[in-house]
């Protein structure tokens, strides 16, 4: 039986919700963590079989519980990570309610009321930790794909054998798209990859994992004040990385035989139309990578001149097809499936009735603090408060900051 009133309700039992629970417990704040399935639900159910975390195990410790397993430099699977969350929930004695679905939220004087599958739950403060990258976003043009073509997305796709035999068009070249394109190509299917704006990163640079470098040079700790176009930064696609040592950039995929084409711009008359701007996007990604590696080299020279680093070997420029294909005829039978790896959006439908969204449906918040509904906080969004916000290691610092604000809110709005 679930309690029907708490000081703080946390919706979502992933790394963000659990880290928040630990912060609140340390502050003596009465709360519940409401999880719609099992702990780490999305990691267990809404990901493909081969998925491993993009960050090495050493980077995936949770607050108060650093990684203690046997493979410090390895990459755990999504399921292994979900299991580590389950262990973490008991380690921190999280007041957890599993298998409870939150359908809606409304503002009440001095708090909120949640509509849940266990009945209404009222709370003075509410933490939305239901995930920033949960619902696959599929563009409207998907409806123009002919019926005989099988369509899927990274939220539903599990393994290559789920797809019919034949060619595959993978749309999107961020982490999901390049990983799925790679395994489909290796399964013997002929893959065409439509590439828009993308982020190229090497797994390893000068003998260290790229995550080590991003952490060392302070990039992951850059905060809201350190970036000049926050909207753009928050929309940056995930990097072309895989949890493992295989390269998955366009150079590597091209070598495996994946055909690289421009951004999918439209589907008309049974034909997919690709942008002719591919070369520009590849050059832009190469330039951006070059600037990051310059920054790393400068840091290494200044901060650890004696370190035993491998020499600076720069990845070569992305090879550009001289005449990338600009269209593809679904009627030719060449393409049997389309994988829409076109991004994820937050699972925030359950609080859509709160007045906290702008005219384009985007949540308005300042570093996770939602001014439109005082007492509402959000976690786990891209660059919520710092560059590492979307990483596992972002849960600790973000929840510490937000718990502080939440604690003050409760004190200043003490129940009558």
């Amino acid at each position: 039986m679930t309690r029907n009133h708490v000081d703080t309700a946390i919706v979502g039992g992933g790394q963000a919700g659990l880290a928040m629970s630990r912060e609140l417990t340390m502050r003596g704040i009465d709360h519940l963590v409401l999880e719609k399935g099992m702990i780490g639900n999305a990691w267990r159910t809404a990901r493909w079989d081969s998925l491993r975390l993009l960050t090495p195990n050493w980077a995936n410790g949770l607050p108060g519980r650093p990684y203690g397993g046997p493979s410090f430099h390895g990459f755990m699977s999504a399921t292994e990570f979900a299991e580590s969350l389950t262990r973490y929930a008991s380690f921190i004695s999280a007041p957890l309610v599993e298998n409870v679905c939150v359908h809606g939220a409304r503002a009440l004087p001095g708090g909120f009321e949640l509509a849940t599958s266990e009945g209404p739950i009222s709370c003075r403060t509410l933490v939305a930790a239901s995930g920033g990258a949960v619902r696959p976003v599929v563009p409207a043009m998907a409806t123009a794909v002919p019926k005989h073509v099988f369509q899927t997305d990274p939220g539903s796709y599990k393994r290559p054998s789920d797809l019919p035999d034949g060619g595959v068009l993978v749309v999107g070249a961020s982490a999901s798209g390049v990983q799925i394109a790679r395994e489909l190509q290796l399964s013997g299917r002929r893959v065409t990859l439509a590439v828009g704006t993308h982020v190229r990163l090497p797994r390893n640079y000068r003998g260290r994992d790229i995550e080590w470098w991003l952490d060392a040079i302070g990039a992951l700790d850059e905060s809201l004040d350190d970036v000049d176009d926050l909207t753009r930064v928050r929309r940056t696609p995930s990097p072309q990385l895989i949890g493992g040592t295989d390269p998955v950039d366009l150079t590597a995929l091209n070598r495996l035989g994946v055909e690289i084409v421009g951004r999918l711009t439209d589907i008309r008359g049974g034909r997919a139309l690709f942008s002719g701007g591919l070369a520009h996007l590849c050059q832009a990604a190469d330039l951006k990578l070059g600037r990051l590696l310059d920054r790393i080299d400068i840091w290494a020279a200044e901060r650890s001149p004696g370190a035993a680093l491998m020499p600076s070997t720069r990845p070569s420029a992305t090879p550009l097809p001289t005449a990338p294909r600009l269209s593809l005829d679904f009627g030719s039978g060449e393409i049997a499936s389309v994988v829409w790896a076109t991004g994820f959006r937050p699972a925030n439908e359950w609080f859509r009735d709160l007045p906290v969204f702008d005219r384009r449906g985007r949540l308005v918040h300042d570093g996770g603090i939602v001014a439109g509904a005082p007492g509402l906080y959000v976690l786990g969004l891209p660059f919520l408060r710092r560059r590492r916000s979307l990483q596992i290691s972002g849960a600790g610092p973000d929840t510490r900051d937000i718990a502080h604000h939440l604690d003050l809110h409760l004190r200043h709005n003490a129940a009558a």
Partner: protein
């Protein structure tokens, strides 16, 4: 630091005015919706004259003090008097003009002093398409190449980044690389 550089106009682009406009239009999205117009009259043969004067923007119709005129014709190889550039060459001038303006604006914003910028544009076309010789050949360009030669107080990487950012924000680059729905209708027959 950047503010000082922006206030001291180097390349003749008033970046501050553009940045202010961006801020203002974020708050008033309807004002950002523009409609561009051109009025073309057939002169003779394949020679036409297009005058460009008014447009709609910032919520109202605007008229320039005087119209700009662009003529198009075809060269002798097309059995025409070559009174003006061909329409496809005017398209190339639009691309070059747009990308070059972008380079100047981005350079201004980044505090890069430009000494010279030149862009050479080439586009390939198999006229078997427009002549109806081969149905498999498209009418338009099969490829466009733009080569910038830029002399500026900046590293070659920074200059490459100017050109990349210019492409990212270029209307004509987008028009040429992505499909646009074009509706052509007819009126005026008595």
């Amino acid at each position: 630091m950047t503010t000082e550089l922006m206030n001291e106009i180097q390349n003749g682009v008033n970046v501050q005015a553009l940045l202010d406009a961006r801020t203002a239009l974020e708050a008033a999205p309807e004002a950002a919706k523009f409609t561009w117009r051109a009025q073309c009259e057939w002169l003779d043969g394949v020679h036409s004259r297009t005058s460009i004067s008014g447009f709609f923007g910032l919520g109202e119709d605007k008229t320039r003090p005087s119209a700009h005129v662009v003529e198009t014709d075809h060269p002798a190889e097309f059995a025409a008097p070559d009174a003006a550039a061909t329409p496809v060459e005017v398209v190339l001038s639009g691309l070059a003009g747009c990308l070059t303006a972008g380079v100047a604006a981005v350079a201004e914003n980044r505090g890069v002093k430009l000494r010279s910028v030149s862009a050479s544009v080439e586009a390939d076309m198999d006229i078997a398409g427009i002549l109806g010789i081969d149905a498999d050949v498209r009418n338009g360009f099969s490829a466009i190449r733009v080569e910038f030669d830029i002399d500026a107080d900046a590293s070659s990487e920074d200059i490459a980044a100017l050109v990349a950012q210019s492409q990212k924000r270029s209307a004509v680059f987008d028009i040429l690389t992505n499909p646009t729905a074009v509706h052509v209708s007819t009126t005026g027959q008595k």
